[in-house]
């Protein structure tokens, strides 16, 4: 069996997968990515390179992914619909595939008003579900969105999407996952899990519809580094759910970072045994150096 990417291979072989996020720098120094990548080598099966996350301008996901690819590490190129229309997005999919990038995560993207260029005009020509479907059709049918035919090689990519079990309204979130699968999602990375109970309930619904057999679900893990971060996640970041018990543990800890680390470890242990969860996706915001020990302490072997 030939696989499009290492990520697809390890997921298909039934291994519990780890992905980790690398945020590109606010500058053009490739070594900033290389240093982070070297630090994380062996910790994860593939690495997400974010696409101007929270609408803050950084090195492009395409370039960051390529830097990683040249280090023989596997990137997951994130693509948002905020900054490019369907022409730009399809063109970059062809370019990325031509240069050997094999995983794409399709997102609608954070609104520009949250970032460092709030006066920018958001594109939002299409949404994440339409992007998934467009790339799937380019790959499987050989047509662009307009119906025009691809003439030289189809992009051989493994497609992912995000899911948020904590989004409002809860009752439609499994349908939303189904829709992403129908559109072309083969793996899913979820919003960071702090409320395990609610996540388990969502997974129950996912399993009851058999969706865990149709898509690989990687549960999001983001260690809380400080009381400030816990408060930001709890009160200000839309679509996150930090339960009061977790918040109190961080707030009352003599060393909040250490407590955040312990909570992340406990969460990973629970997620590891949760039926239908095929891996974890670690997003350690401004705390990437914690990932190697977190992975080791959670009992995972070094990745090849």
């Amino acid at each position: 069996m030939s696989y499009r990417s290492n990520l697809e291979k390890v997921l298909s072989e039934g291994h519990f997968v780890i992905t980790a996020e690398i945020g590109p720098p606010k500058g053009s120094d490739a070594n900033k990515i290389r240093d982070k990548a070297m630090m994380l080598k062996g910790c994860a099966d593939a690495f997400n390179i974010t696409d101007n996350q929270t609408a803050v301008v950084r090195m492009s996901s395409f370039a960051g992914s390529l830097i990683l690819h040249h280090m023989n590490m596997e990137p997951i190129m994130q693509m948002t619909c905020r900054d490019r229309n369907r022409i730009g997005l399809q063109s970059d999919v062809l370019g990325a595939a031509a240069l050997g990038l094999r995983n794409i995560l399709c997102l609608t993207g954070d609104h520009q008003s949250f970032g460092n260029h709030p006066a920018a005009k958001g594109v939002f020509d299409i949404d994440s579900i339409q992007l998934l479907q467009i790339i799937k059709n380019m790959r499987d049918v050989g047509v662009f969105q307009s119906g025009d035919l691809l003439l030289a090689e189809r992009p051989c990519v493994f497609l992912g999407a995000a899911a948020n079990p904590y989004a409002d309204p809860f009752e439609i979130q499994v349908d939303r996952l189904r829709k992403k699968i129908d559109a072309g999602a083969e793996f899913i990375q979820t919003q960071s899990v702090y409320n395990l109970e609610k996540f388990s309930k969502w997974m129950d619904d996912v399993r009851s519809q058999g969706l865990d057999k149709k898509v690989h679900i990687l549960a999001g893990v983001t260690p809380l580094k400080s009381v400030k971060m816990a408060e930001r996640m709890k009160f200000h970041v839309p679509g996150t759910d930090v339960p009061e018990t977790v918040y109190q543990r961080i707030k009352n800890a003599s060393d909040p970072a250490k407590e955040g680390y312990v909570i992340a470890l406990e969460t990973i242990r629970e997620l590891k045994v949760l039926q239908g969860v095929h891996g974890i996706h670690i997003t350690a915001l401004f705390w990437e150096q914690i990932i190697p020990s977190l992975v080791k302490d959670a009992g995972f072997d070094t990745r090849s």
Partner: protein
């Protein structure tokens, strides 16, 4: 209705620069928005006179976006218009351009910012409803327009950032997807959301002329 808001008086004074000015209002949308009706034109006139800025005359057009009506009505103000190089228009962006077209010798000052096509939801409160895309999709969304009312124009929403039915971008704005979902839920038709909405045909939005 075209919703406008008046520009700040300080900004207008800077544009007028103490020269004589002729004022134009509009009897339709700008009147209902209280930005360019008779009352507002007269109030601005008074404010300008207080600042020693001569106002050579004023008129409320019926409406400002009607080229032929404007031509006819403005003829009656030839004398007043001849006394000034500057014409300040309290109408929507369309009305201002129609006047600029007719009075090509004059310096046109836009007295308003044109915000959106929307409804009067209560007295002095307006809500955006349509962005004139040329290809109405309201049938697909229970009569709510996500292209206009979702900041990300998502046709396969919601994005996941809303809370308690409010948009993550602006807590004063209801999440249009929440509106769609609540209506579908009442009808027991939530499953229609499973249909993937195709990318929108924006070519229809580029119409620039229409004849009946």
């Amino acid at each position: 209705m075209i919703i406008t808001k008046q520009k700040d008086i300080i900004e207008l004074l800077r544009s007028i620069d103490s020269k004589p000015v002729f004022l134009i209002g509009c009897n339709e949308c700008a009147t209902l928005c209280h930005t360019g009706g008779k009352d507002e034109v007269l109030a601005l006139k008074e404010a300008l006179v207080k600042k020693q800025i001569p106002v050579s005359g004023w008129v409320v057009l019926e409406p400002a976006c009607h080229l032929l009506n404007d031509k006819r009505m403005l003829k009656e103000y030839t004398t007043e218009l001849s006394k000034t190089e500057k014409v300040l228009v309290l109408a929507c962006g369309n009305g201002i351009q129609t006047i600029a077209d007719l009075l090509s010798e004059k310096e046109i000052i836009a007295g308003t910012d044109t915000l959106f096509l929307g409804e009067i939801s209560r007295a002095n409160e307006f809500d955006k409803r349509c962005m004139l895309c040329g290809d109405c999709l309201l049938d697909n969304f229970e009569g709510f327009c996500p292209i206009t009312r979702c900041p990300k124009s998502m046709l396969n929403g919601p994005c996941g950032g809303s809370s308690n039915g409010n948009c993550e971008i602006n807590k004063e704005m209801e999440c249009v997807w929440d509106c769609v979902i609540q209506k579908l839920k009442k009808k027991g038709k939530l499953d229609v959301l499973l249909a993937i909405q195709k990318p929108k045909d924006w070519s229809k939005a580029s119409e620039t002329k229409w004849r009946i």
